[in-house]
Each structure stands twice: as C-alpha cells, then as structure tokens.
Symmetry: C2
C-alpha cells in the first residue's frame, strides 16, 4: 500500500523538476454548474500534462537505486512524452515503443526530448512485444503508464497541491479526476484519503471507454463494451492494482458522452481561455450532466493536460 509518507517523498523528489501549477476558478462556469469549482491546471505542467509527475517519480528512483541504465515504455500519448522528458532530466536514454499510427506531432515531441522511438503495429500485443525486445537488447527498465506504485505516487502529488492550495481553509466536498488506466484517479484517491478524509472522490469516464465503471461495480477488471471516444487519453483499462485503490477510496464513477465532453471542453476554452484536452473535460461534463448531485458543493477538478491537435478540434 502507498502510504502518505510515500506520496510526500514523491513530492519532494519531483518538486525541483515540475511546475506547481495554478488552481483557477471561473465565475461563469460556477454559475452554470451551481457549484464552486477549483481547476488544478496540469495543462500548464511540464510536457503539458500531469504525467510528468509519475514519470519523474519512477525514473528518479531508477537512478537513485541504480536499477538500470536506460528507460523504456509503450505509449501513444502523454506518458511517452513524460518518460522521454524525465529520462532526459536524469541523463538516461529512453526507448519509447509507439504505434506507427500515432500522430506525427506526438512522435516529434518525444524525439524533441531526445528519446528513440521504436514503431510497432497499433495493438497492445505488438506494443508489449516491442517493449520486451527493447529490454532484452538494452536492459532498459520499464516504466508502466499506470500499473506501478511509483507512477501512482507521482500522480498523487497533483491532488496534494490542489488540497494544499485551495482545500485547507474550507475542505473540498468533492475532488474529481478522469479515469483511464486509473493511475491519476488512484493517486488522487489516496492523497484525498490521507489529507482530506471527509472529501469524496468522484471520477468521470467516457461512455466510449466505460471499463472502470463496470469494474468498480463488479470488483473485477472488466473490458469496456466498446472503445470510441474523443477522450484519447482515457482508452486504457484499469489494472488490478489501480482497481483495488479505486474500490477502497473512490465514491462514484460517472459516464459522459462525447458530445457532453466536447461541450464542457468548449466551455472551458471559451470562458477560462485555457487549452485543455478532451480527457480533461470529462469531470466537468459529469458535473454539468448531474447538477443536482453537485449543487452548492466545493469541488476540486484535476485538469489533466492540454495536448490537443489544433487541426482536429471536436467542435
């Protein structure tokens, strides 16, 4: 089990490398929601997403414990950049297995941090095989996107800052995060459990990647009935590790449609003047969909990232 000390140590470890991102509020969105919302802006984080936290916490320990001389992972999204960025900070080579179908802009970003990309077919099997080959060839250490206590403890530091910066005078009634593989959500739930135990943690999930809500109900890792959503950061499935933490410390998981996600995303762009990716809009979409359940509450929302293809907006 990840203790509060582990999260505190993770925070001390990553702090020199990350931004303490702003917590923003917006009167119009509060009026629209009928609640008091505090947005933790990890779109302003290094690499444009919270994933820098988990990647750094894992890789700094790989160096400290002399576990290996290279890092590898497979990802088509923000975790690829996070690992490339963190490996560069410590001077280790990084080998990122990416599906050949990943957007050029994401590959360019990973290369921009000096990492080597190994292209593979766009299947989970091909990605895992790719990582296995890298490990055999280079002895690299795998940093999994979410099924890793060090990654979870790193992601947990975002909620820690949110609570410290806006939830101490009057505690949050609710803290929200989106759920994909569950690294951020389980870290958020643990931090909240330790620092603000009366605060409920509620997740938002796309209808088009609705595995976590099923797993939460059944207690087993379930697959999503279908995968089709604009929230491209949330297509992964929970692991046993993240599900266990989520079952222990999360109150509810709410699903929202792509139209609801796009509308919430557009509302944030138009009124807050900040760029957030579709995954980041999922919790706000849930608040606006179920206003009666959130009415009058003080709610912290983790804005997960701002890496959007500006040529393909969903509105």
């Amino acid at each position: 089990m990840i203790s509060f000390d582990t999260i505190q140590e993770a925070h001390d470890r990553v702090r020199p490398y990350i931004h303490r991102t702003a917590v923003l509020t917006n009167q119009t969105i509060n009026d629209r929601a009928g609640a008091e919302l505090f947005f933790k802006c990890e779109n302003f984080q290094k690499i444009g997403a919270f994933k820098a936290r988990g990647g750094l916490n894992a890789i700094l320990q790989v160096v400290q414990n002399e576990e290996g001389n290279a890092i590898t992972t497979h990802s088509s999204g923000n975790h690829a950049q996070a690992v490339a960025f963190a490996a560069r900070q410590v001077g280790l080579p990084a080998y990122i297995v990416m599906p050949r179908t990943a957007p050029k802009v994401k590959k360019d970003a990973v290369r921009g941090y000096g990492a080597e990309i190994i292209e593979c077919e766009p299947t989970l099997e091909a990605r895992e095989n790719g990582v296995r080959e890298v490990i055999e060839r280079t002895g690299a250490v795998l940093v999994h996107p979410f099924d890793d206590d060090r990654v979870i403890a790193g992601q947990a530091t975002a909620a820690k800052e949110l609570i410290e910066d806006a939830g101490t005078d009057v505690p949050f009634d609710i803290i929200m995060a989106p759920v994909g593989g569950g690294g951020l959500l389980s870290g958020t739930a643990l931090t909240t459990h330790y620092l603000s135990p009366k605060t409920r943690v509620i997740a938002g999930e796309p209808e088009g990647a609705a595995d976590a809500v099923l797993s939460f109900q059944s207690g087993r890792v379930e697959k999503a009935p279908f995968i089709k959503t604009i929230a491209d950061g949330l297509m992964t499935t929970l692991s046993e590790r993240t599900l266990a933490i989520i079952q222990a410390h999360v109150s509810d998981i709410m699903t929202v449609s792509d139209d609801e996600i796009a509308a919430a995303m557009r509302l944030v762009w138009e009124r807050m003047k900040i760029i957030i990716e579709p995954s980041s809009a999922v919790p706000l979409a849930a608040v606006l969909k179920h206003k009666e359940q959130f009415s009058g509450q003080k709610i912290g929302i983790i804005i997960t990232g701002g890496n959007v293809d500006l040529g393909k907006l969903p509105f």
Copy 2:
C-alpha cells in the same frame, strides 16, 4: 496630459472590479526567441480582454460625477463587451451601436451583460450616426474606445501591474503592446515612462492595418494603405490624442504579416496552453521576426485578449 497620479487613481478605482491577471513565462518560447519574455495575460481579464479596465475607469467616473444616466458606444469588438460589463457593474443602462454584420457570438455576449444593441450598417459613418441618435434619445454619455483620457488611463493599469509584478527587481528592457486605435499603447507608454523610464516601448502592428507606423513617421494621423488582417481588434486608426502620446513615449512600431501573426498565435496556444486572440500575438510575431533586435533582452508583452471564434481559427 495624463499624470502618474491619474493612472494610480484609475488603478484604485477599477481594482475592485477586475482581475490582477497572471504574468506567465515559457521556456520553449524564450529559447525560440533568444530573449526572456513575460506575458501579461489580459486574456484572463473580465470580458476576456484588457478593455474592461478602460471601460470601468470611464464609467465609474461618469457615475461619480453624475454626468448622465446611461452609457453608449459603438464597437463590434471587445470594447462593446467592456462597456456593457462596466455599465452593469454600476447599474446604468448601456446602448451599444454594433454593425449588423458583427458575429452573433459577440452580440450575444453584449446582451448577456444586459446591454441594448442598436444595429447599424457596417460603416464608421453609420456607427457614429447611431451613437448620435442614442445620445439625442436617451442622454447617454459616450465612452469612446480609445480617444478618451479616462479610457487611456484605465488601459494604462495593465502595464502598471506588469511592471509591479515582474519588472521591479530587474527592469524590463522593452515593453510591447499591439496598436489599433492606440488606447492600450499610449497608456502602456505613459505608465512605462513614469514607472520604468529606461524601458523602451515598442509596438507591433499588422501589415494589413498599418496606419500607426505611417502616422508615427509623419507626425500626422494617416490612414492605412489597406485594411485586411486576421487581427480584428487592430483595424482602427490612431487619434490625434493617442498619436501625440505615442510620438512622445514609444520607441518603434514594427509591422508583421498575417502569416507571422498566425504562427505566433499558434506557438502560444501549443506551448503555453492559453487561448489568445490574433491581435495578442502581434508583438510576439515582431520579436520572432526581428530576433537580432531583441536578443538577450528582458521583454514584457501585453496579451490583449482571448476572444476568438473557435469555428474560424487562422491555422
């Protein structure tokens, strides 16, 4: 002449109604520019633009001096919203003359602040006639978008905050703003002259609305050779009043093309994750175009606003 005391009084007057907006920096953009840039984010201001400052400073004085019981102006852009917003703050009716061709989203925003819209043909003559009729009918007081000392003193408070927040330990070498009618630029130049007299003020202007650069050279109010630019907030012409201040206190005006504006705007969206309108990108476009002149300098840039039609992006 607008004294420093006048700007200080304007700041005290508007402070309860506005945000003290953030000053942001970005390592990637600094590296790209070869300079140290500080962005004063008036896209986060009330109504999404710095114009809230000037509108409030004028209208609060109309109330204080009992000059009239209603406010009017003509504008198709951010000033319309600023006047509507400020009038609502003080409980006065506002009559905004807008060209019938103005985007529905802008008319909706003005109505959202409770103002009445009077539609007119899209010519300056029709707009001025519209305002005259409103004044005859209602006795409303005109708040001009820039040719008004109270408006200029209000806009001057943005640079005041920028200097106070980021230019005191090490003064700025340069402060930059875009120029349209010159309200923001003349206010910025006055504040800089009083608070940081060694700092040079440099303006950016679109090639497709290049009146200010001509007027700056000739010393007379000149018209732009042609008007065609994506920087829709900068199409207006200087007045005698703004030109006089600009000639006294501005060092240079640099023109940039629409392609250069769009590229700078996209760079800010992608790397800073904030939404800025094309006009806001004009100074950065000038820095990136003339790197040799800005190399190694500490530069403050006023980001004027973030009101963008998301359906019509210039990239």
